[in-house]
Amino acid sequence: MAHFEIRDLSFTYASAKGRLSLDRVSFDVDKGQYLVLCGKSGSGKTTLLKQLKPVLSPAGKRSGEVLFNGVPVRQLSERDQAAKIGYVMQNPDDQIVTDKVWHELAFGLESLGCDQKTMRARVAEMACYFGIQDWFHRDVANLSGGQKQLLNLASIMAMQPEVLILDEPTSQLDPIAASDFLNTVRKINLELGTTVIITEHRLEDIFPHADRAVVMDGGRVIADDRPRNIGRLLYEQDNPMFTAMPTPVRVFYGSGGSGECPLTVRDGRSWLSEAFPAGAKVKSLPETKNPVEDNEPALIMKELWFRYEKDTPDIMRGVSAEVPTGSLYAIVGGNGAGKSTTLKAICGINRPYRGKIRIFGKPVEKYRSAELFSRCLAMLPQDPKSLFVKKTVREELEEMNSDKARVGEIAALCQVEPLLDSHPYDLSGGEQQRAALAKVLLTEPRLLLLDEPTKGIDSFFKETFAGILAELKAKGITIVMVSHDVEFCARYADMVSMFFDGQILTTDTPRRFFGSNSFYTTAANRMSRHVFTQAVTAEDVIALCRANREGEA
């Protein structure tokens, strides 16, 4: 029997002036199924998920119906809705209500009025299943993002729901915490048989395990099949969603592969081995000279040492780097390695106790603060919301520069013109990112620092964002970015540095950098390294496949 039956569901937000956000959506979700819902941001994924749990559905006009176990979901009592349909949201922080881990675990049970004995048993069970015992008594404020999201999941599982709905649960997490989280979700699905409905950007981690993928676009379902077949459907439709597919899928169709489509790196490797049984003739792409490599350095860091308190360990332990003018310079590395601390040191917020920073040849301490942050240096913070203080995007931008013409230019560059009169908090993550970038650019920086700019953004917004960065580079602006996003850095950066243990260990072009790593590298490289050398993006691999085929023909 179907768990959820969605019948001809249409929905219009009260504020949307008649524009349909969901357009006659119909599909069933079977019991115990692991269903992944994909689509660009704004395609109606979240709107659809919220319709599955009516206490969360916003005001608006609705037609069609949603059945849960054969009963219209809106007729379910609030108690049943709470207990049977679990819902995990995007932001790990805002979902937590109480200040202690144990209390958060018990929150749902308290709401349902469970008695002490049941609560004790369930809470204990959850703490063990999710490995929370060690931090059971801790304050929520001292948890990492990954732990917080795991706590949110555990707190919902404590109510023993039949269905688990997850709305981009890992978008705010670093890659390691994200894959831990997704593994836990998979474990719940496999071990408890809980139905899972998830929306997610990180399809690489989900596709191999999901039973089914539903693709949405403009409020409609445009594809609904097993994950293995979805790639072909999208490729044939030439749908932009194809770019969000896992690397092996993109390489497979992009290079005109035939047979069964690989979903994982492992499958991708064996597919490549079969495609080139005798090894590839063309092993690597021609080396292109990186035009910016020899430019004058815009930023020089020399032996920087920093710690927050006198008696805490050093965060920066001799950081040295030279950033060529006009380059996009990426610093990658694990969580808490000190990457963001380094950016703050460049801005002069953290003062290294040893070492020198030179910006455009001049020591940073020689700049007056007003001089440094005007026409020189600016930083886009990790959370773009940190920059918003006004009611509309326009006011935000005009706070920086009263020259309307210039504001218009920058707004056009960052593609935020249609959003100028919106409230900054009403924008999607990617739009907020661009609005914040516009605000930062209005200080006319020559050196732009970006802290995790791709966090929580889907692949389309990433591409738009990369386009803007390319335009900035063309104008001679130097960009330094720290990121977890290996794929993004491989594709767009000019230079990549590895940050580890308070130091910058290696620096090279993305091809040489990722090409010589075997774990800390892109999926494309892991998939193809036994056949090609230094192919680090899906595009590289596709180009090499093609080159070899042409060679054969």
């Binding site: 969360l56 709470a82 709401s111 349902l112 609560m119 703050k344 203080v389 200080t443």
Partner: protein, 299 residues
Amino acid sequence: MKREENDAFSRCHPAVGFTFFVGAIGLGAMIMHPAYIAASAVFAVTYYCLLKGARGMKLVALSIPLFLFLTFANPLVNHDGQRVLTYVFGKPYTFEALLYGMVIAGMLIAMILWAGCYNAVMTSDKFMTLFGGMIPTISMLLLMVLRLVPNMLRKIGQLAGARRCIGRGAAENATKKEQAADSLNVLSALMTWALEGGVITADSMKARGYGTERRSSFQIHTLTGQDICLLGTMGVLTVMIVRLIALGGTAANYTPIMEITPVTGRYVWGFAAYCAFLSLPTVLYIKEAVQWHISRSGI
């Protein structure tokens, strides 16, 4: 492990702690007798130092000048009394007023220290255990406040940092006016951020059934036999002390005529009860320390 977690009394049920502190501070405010105040101060200092260790000594040391100041200042405003020691600005400086000042100062310091102990022992989760069932909505609110404040403090740092990095925040050498204006700006941005986040928190509460049933409250602390025993002991002692106060056993008058009921003699049981009450946390601490010592040396 923090020192407070090491303390046997802190590990008792919150009801024990709360009753004790209400008793210690409440009874303390009703008794003006120098011997009782001295006892309260001594036990407060002892327990505070046990709880806080070396850091505790510091506050105790700091309170000595306060004690002296209040003691010697009182006769300057209070001129009643018979034994005139000297004249200051033509007004009498009396022995009685001096003693009264000492009593008031001692009481104040005892109260400060008991409040310090209270803050260390009665953590927010204990407070919640006590009142969560009684006033569920208000305690829910308090919980959320306790959760939000550290979050907001962190966010304030981020907001100020983000603004500085685009050259908008107050620089290091900013004037007071700029600093004030900038921090109000940050506060306003913080408010928007928190209110928008709050919408998600509210959804998360609804998603987990907040308000569907009468709320129960998860008790992380359980009432043990020892807790009941302690509550009983405190109850008996409190009744004795209240009886003592009603009988006038703690009566003390300073100005204009000094009359202090002696501690020894017919009211000695009362003084004993008062000391017994106040010494409970210290006794528990020492008892446990001794037990550990014995069990360790036994190994």
